[in-house]
Amino acid sequence: MILSIVSIASAIVAFTACVSLGAFHTMTNLLSTNAGSVMIIYGANARSPQTSVIPLAVYNELISTRGVEAVSPEVVSVAVVSSGKPVVVRGVDPRSVEGFIEFKVLDGAFISGDRYFEAAAGLEVSKRLGLKTGDRVLLRSVLTRNYVEVEVVGVYESTTSLDDEILVPIQTAQWLRGLPPNAVSMMRVKIDEELLPREKLSEALGGKDSGGEVASKASRIISLLFLASTGNIPSRLVVREASESMQEFLGRETKLNEASFWSIAILVFAGSISTIALAPTLFILEHAREISIIKSIGGVRRIQSAVLPVVLVSSFLAGLVGSMIGYLLSKAFSESSLLVVGTYTIKPATTMIIPLVSAGLTSIVAAVAAKIATDSVKTEAWIG
């Protein structure tokens, strides 16, 4: 009985912690990849990399800088699909973005980048919006009066936040966002830190004439965009690590940090304390007669040394099992698209601290409750 209630309590605390910390990590990892030293370049005056506008000409500077391994210019826009649901539409150059993110095409093909009217849907967004290869989707921009109908050419999985987005060629996202061909939102840059330390990257920007010839490494569509461009986009740039840029945005704009999300789990734990305490209390009360007899013959310490470690260890193990159930529950909720922050599916946090903290706290409460209940059993109770 103690074990089942400790398991349930631990499951709920772990579920809450996985979801709340998962929400925080989802938000801070919107730009993160598994591609090593990736920096984000965006406008210094922008609230976030997604809302920034920078000149595409920066691409030229970066691609010709020694130590820069790959550059991906990206345009972020928000659109509404036919069902009225919002979705993030990201304009990418397929050849460039593949240097940062490994896309596993689950169905159809990936965008070629050359065709204006094609799109690839991330696995999560395809589930949420019911999109499949061959579907035509009307994207109505939220920021401008522009619209475009694209054909879903494939569904991909990247195990990043891009799974919750629709990828389109850069020029399509520029149209939806209302940007000229020579402007993008941000750039991902992969650097070789031995050749180009990250602090030197910002120095490398802005020093050269950014309106020069298109570097030979540029893909065809980027070259075409340069050809279609007129005028310059003035912008002061900042260079940040992917997660750092989002953490700074969250801290500045919403005053939220990891501690805020831990406090939600602590709140749930606080609410469960009475229930957790009740289980060992009931267990002790059921054995009050036996405990009373042992106490009356002077075995108080013996009871405590026998009961408390058993309660502590068994409830800790039950707590670990419960935490596992809590994690699996959060995973099931996430995969059923029941947990969403903004337009992104919350990926449950997988850190080992969660089961340990959850099981530890619940087992301590159970042990303390058992100790209090044992102490409260009176020696004369067995006489009645």
Partner: protein, 365 residues
């Protein structure tokens, strides 16, 4: 009735025990209520900041069409309706086509429209001139660059199974999808696709209209730049996640009720013994225990919801201070949330108490 009054008196005669039952279930209810109430407040707060959007730009398409490409509208009927209203509109016929040049080919769209009006509306810059006859077309700059096309070049366009040869009369640049399309005059498009003569794909419309008034023509008016719709969608989907998370907490209420009522039944064993000795049947004893559990559950729900709302007010005010939000909507439960909490918690806490009641009622005392 006697049993109910007996159960109530028995419950309140031991306030310490009653408090422990209430706290056990009530604290969990409060934990689930707090995020619901705070979430509601933030939603209302955000909704106040989102101005009511008046739409002035629409896309008119066939309401039976699954996509723009499937949409076909009889233009003559619509034109008469639109002319009666004070609106600017641009009818367009859009069809998928394959364009072939000496360099290669590309799948794109042929757009037939009143190009004079369209280019003005979109701020199109045109090198060369607009198509003047059936054998001329404009192409977008990105398409022209890809196929290495210049003015006066000849291209083949495969459209609805037929091939047409066009001379590139002009190359346009607009930073829009037209940069990748072939554009001709609407009348020219009707001649090229005789099956769709007098028909269009869509109308881009600017002005105030009542979207419902187009329903009789089987036409759907889709508002453009639906910012408030998007923000509402984002806020609601996030808040629904909080609701889904609260559902998991309610599962804990069931377990909690089971243990709280078990403790209550164990505490009532002497009462059960007395009732049995004066001839109460097991059924009536079970009913007595059930009334006790029901009363405790109802008090727990009321206390839990109240604590939840008060605590959420405290949390929200503290958060408002931290976030420096001056004007705010105090947290509260909406009626639908209140029904959800009452129904779900009521059912879970009552059903959670049933197994322990049966267990104690069957005990030999």
């Amino acid at each position: 009735m006697i049993l109910l009054s007996l159960a109530f008196k028995d419950l309140v005669s031991e306030p310490k025990r009653l408090l422990s039952y209430i706290l056990t279930v009530g604290s969990l209810i409060a934990v689930a209520v707090i995020p619901l109430a705070v979430g509601n407040a933030y939603i209302q707060q955000l909704m106040r900041f989102i101005p009511r959007q008046d739409y002035h730009h629409y896309l008119l398409v066939n309401s039976s069409a699954n996509s723009l490409s499937d949409s076909i509208i009889d233009y003559k009927l619509l034109e008469n309706t639109l002319n009666l209203k004070n609106v600017d509109y641009s009818p367009q016929l859009i069809r998928r086509c394959n364009i072939i040049s000496g360099v290669g080919s590309a799948v794109t769209f042929l757009r037939g429209a009143d190009l004079n009006q369209l280019y003005k509306f979109r701020g199109v810059s045109l090198r060369g001139r607009m198509p003047m006859n059936l054998s001329e077309a404009n192409v977008g700059i990105l398409l022209a660059e890809r196929l290495n096309l210049s003015i006066n070049d000849r291209v083949e366009v495969e459209l609805s199974g037929r091939r047409h040869v066009f001379r590139v009369a002009g190359i346009l640049r607009c930073n829009c999808p037209y940069d990748e399309e072939v554009l001709v005059q609407l009348k020219q498009a009707w001649t090229l696709i005789p099956d769709l003569n007098g028909k269009i794909t869509l109308v881009e419309l600017s002005g105030e209209i009542d979207p419902q008034k187009f329903a009789y023509l089987n036409i759907r008016a889709i508002p453009l730049q639906p910012a408030s719709q998007a923000v509402t969608g984002i806020v609601e989907s996030t808040f629904n996640s909080v609701r889904n998370w609260a559902l998991a907490i309610f599962a804990m209420v069931f377990a909690s009720s089971y243990f709280a009522s078990l403790k209550m039944c164990v505490d009532s064993i002497d009462r059960v013994a007395v009732l049995r000795s004066i001839g109460f049947s097991r059924r009536r004893i079970a009913l007595f225990l059930f009334y006790k559990a029901l009363t405790a559950s109802l008090i727990s729900i009321l206390v839990g919801i109240s604590i939840g709302i008060v605590a959420s007010q405290v949390i929200f005010r503290a958060a408002s201070l931290v976030l420096s939000i001056e004007a705010y909507q105090p947290p509260t439960l909406t009626l639908s949330d209140l029904y959800l909490v009452l129904t779900l918690v009521g059912i879970l806490s009552v059903t959670g108490s049933v197994p322990s009641i049966i267990r104690v009622a069957r005990m030999r005392v």
